[in-house]
């Protein structure tokens, strides 16, 4: 079956512009995560959606970052007034979160490489 897809795969933008990054999770997965990964480093948690619950936004680095998940499926991460330090790979992951699961099995997309000039 289809995995997690992200678009665009690469995005180059100028400082100060807004960007939108899209994530299509695996169908039926209720949990969706966004992470940021700087070159060759570990992942930084940004935001997490679970079903109809309020998202956990505690990892968003500033109010320039926001995310939404429409209809419990597709998610969009928006970065307003981009800065050079926003350059990174943005990864999305989804999880089925089955009843009784104590942990999430996260399936990651390939990421969007964002470059802010």
């Amino acid at each position: 079956g289809a995995g997690v897809s992200q678009s665009p795969s690469n995005k180059v933008t100028e400082k100060g512009k807004d960007v939108e990054l899209r994530c299509d999770p695996i169908s039926g997965h209720t949990a969706l995560y966004w992470y940021r990964q700087s070159l060759g480093q570990g992942l930084e948690f940004l935001i997490y959606f679970q079903g109809n619950s309020a998202p956990d936004k505690s990892g968003l680095p500033s109010d320039r970052f926001s995310a939404e998940r429409t209809g419990g499926s597709v998610s969009t991460l928006t970065i307003q007034r981009t800065q050079q330090e926003d350059s990174a790979v943005y990864l999305c992951a989804s999880s089925p979160r089955l009843a009784g699961d104590r942990t999430d099995t996260q399936y990651f997309g390939p990421g969007t490489r964002l470059t802010v000039l």
Partner: protein, 110 residues
Amino acid sequence: TQLLEQSPQFLSIQEGENLTVYCNSSSVFSSLQWYRQEPGEGPVLLVTVVTGGEVKKLKRLTFQFGDARKDSSLHITAAQPGDTGLYLCAGDRGTYKYIFGTGTRLKVLA
């Protein structure tokens, strides 16, 4: 604040050698996961450990969760070039909010 420290950061070894990667924290985690990531791709889950002292084996890979659930190790026996990649540990405190480690970049030379 980086809660999960991995060591070593980089490791270059010859095919057939054994290696161990460590993931350490001062915090207790309810579960810990290990991922492998290849260039241009997202991480792929290798294993989840949830019980202190738990040992799991996946072919040539052995994963251990510390008794106090603060640390973990990944041991690879007879490494192969296909094992090359970025290895990441990730801990959860029961909130489904995963904290990822700093990463260990492994290169296995043929």
